[in-house]
Symmetry: C2
């Protein structure tokens, strides 16, 4: 159902020929109103792809009529020509849909440093517009895949209104935000400032805490479009909660499909003096290559957890640190704890709990193990 689960939206996903293998590579999502409120959150990478620069500008108005997304090319590091291409894509969609180009966001994903084949992309926009449907959500979700093995969608329905969405992302998954394209839609009648507030609150504790490989992309885009078609304006907290729930599900699906991963690792930092400390420590653990290799080998190597904690500036005393792996406290007071042979690591999900014994704050960061498959997939990506 994805982006068409909420009333007031149509979508399409087609093969425009951007990908040489003929797979679907162009998605179009249209908000048919009655409202067209929108909000967006983008990568904090300072090297931003052309579509990010375009869409940030467009979002300033707090309104969006449509989003064009393509896989098969990131349109990043493509100079002034790349920006012109993003602009031309929006112009084409605007022309076909009878709206203004300033109401059309653009998002791209794929290899950095290649110009998009506009001779294929622009006719693709026309073709997608001709196939727009209230049932097009799944096709749109499929068309934005790159190395994703499955498409990712989530829907939450509450009392008369719905939030749904789609996501792609499998590599370059790291915070600020977690590298991906996401389009969320809702038929709740919510204005742009509230959409923005709910979206930022949700991404801060979901996509921003997904850190698969520590690499931040140039293209991260999360958009939230509201049609108001349900005629219902939910209480802010209820709405924000639904948005967070959809983001949480999509973020979890991204981790579950990360390139080459065989383990999903939930890094849970507790006993922190501040939430910022908890996040810093969680990220440091999530990015430790040696630990990620150990988890791949089902080795409860808590020494690597401590060595990762030790590189942070968080408040803690080394001889008060505790670490549990899948519930077994293998490290107590900075030293040897329970028998590491008690740790059962056969399942895909692994939980690492780091107790800083310095306060009451906590945070969860999701990451993956580091595998030979990850290396293989990413040494061959551009060839």
């Amino acid at each position: 159902m994805s982006v068409t689960a909420a009333k007031g939206f149509t979508a399409a996903g087609i093969a425009a020929g951007i990908k040489e293998n003929g797979n679907p590579d162009l998605a179009l999502v249209v908000n048919n109103g009655p409202r067209r409120a929108a909000a967006g959150v983008f990568t904090s990478n300072r090297v931003k792809a052309a579509p990010v620069l375009w869409s940030e500008q467009v979002l300033a108005s707090g309104e969006l009529a449509a989003v064009v997304l393509n896989s098969g090319g990131a349109n990043a590091c493509t100079g002034p020509r790349g920006f012109q291409d993003a602009h031309a894509t929006a112009e084409k969609a605007a022309e076909v849909l009878g709206v203004g180009a300033g109401e059309v966001a653009v998002a791209s994903t794929g290899l950095i440093g290649l110009l998009l084949p506009m001779d294929k992309l622009l006719p693709g926009v026309e073709k997608a517009a001709a196939e727009l449907s209230e049932h097009g959500g799944e096709k749109a979700a499929i068309a934005i895949k790159t190395t994703d093995t499955v498409h990712k969608t989530a829907v939450v329905t509450r009392d008369g209104w719905t939030v749904g969405g789609m996501a792609k992302g499998a590599g370059m998954l790291a915070p600020g935000l977690a590298t991906m394209l996401v389009v969320l839609t809702t038929d709740a009648d919510v204005d742009a400032p509230e959409l923005d507030k709910a979206l930022r609150a949700a991404t801060r504790v979901t996509f921003d805490r997904v850190d698969s490989d520590g690499c931040m992309s140039t293209n991260d885009t999360v958009l939230l479009l509201a049609s108001g078609a349900s005629g219902t304006t939910p209480a802010y907290d209820d709405f924000a909660d639904a948005v967070r729930e959809v983001c949480d599900s999509l973020g979890r699906q991204l981790i579950g499909d990360a390139e080459g991963a065989s383990k999903d690792i939930r890094v849970e930092v507790v006993g922190a003096a501040s939430e910022a400390d908890a996040v810093e420590v969680g990220r440091s653990i999530a990015r430790n290559n040696l630990l990620k290799c150990a988890i791949h080998g089902e080795d409860p190597n808590w020494g690597r957890v401590l060595s990762a904690i030790g590189t942070t500036g968080a408040t803690f005393e080394p001889d008060r640190l505790n670490v549990a792996i899948n519930g077994v406290w293998v490290c107590k007071n900075g030293s040897v704890g329970e028998d590491r042979d008690l740790v059962d690591m056969r399942y895909r999900e692994v939980t690492i709990t780091a107790d800083l014994a310095a306060g009451t704050e906590s945070a969860v960061i999701w990451t993956n193990d580091l595998t030979a498959d990850y290396v293989h997939e990413n040494s061959a990506y551009s060839s």
Copy 2:
């Protein structure tokens, strides 16, 4: 020649039985004077191994008579008992050598979170003392190996005086300092403050700029011992230069033998507004897993270089960045540059040049590619 290249030093390397496979695992280096000046630099990880805590204390006096080093166990995260073991090791060496325990540094490397087998280590110290020799440098260098495939030594001889040394380190290679054990010796007659100054100046631009896998160890130790046996006191700049040269050679050997690596990558940042900017950008590039995979696949994927630069706080404009790989400027002004097919990546050494076009400062960081062998070696390390 290693630590016994300089006059006034003896060394030994033996198998004490700490390693279950019977390989050499204990080294002893003794300064026979006439002077015993010394300096040390240690890991900046806040979780410090017991031998680091011990040796930092001992170094406060600026004098060292001997160093005991073991492989086969890091004595890190071992609590009060671990510190007692480090102390007992120094006491044993002091007793056998007829010096004070406060003149003996201790260094350990191996798995974190295991107590050392003191019933093997202490007799090992006696055995090593019995084998001390002016030709023992190479054996000592062999005894400190863990996953190193070769032992690492370097010697620089100037006008009547010598600086030599040995190093180990193959994983957990990252800055602050670059994770390893290093003992340097010199027969130059230099006092402790000058030794300290020369050593810090050297490590700052050598070991501190080796970043193989982004993982900082709990045990990093670099010691410099001066015997004064040459009777010569060189000019400070000459001496500092020789120390830097030895550190540079050893650092380069560490990268050349990093776990699972097939490429040595020289990340050269030029045109930076400050040296700190250059180092920050160099490290960000050196730690980008996706880029390291691409280099492994001999793929000149400059987009991943730009995406790594974009995560830093350095001064630059995205549309003025230039990137060369092995001398081919594949990215110019933040966009597509020379033909990437011109890049020849068949050889082990790869140079990535990032020009920030923001100033005149520069820095070099050394790293490796990320390979399936690295994953394999580090998923099996503790088993």
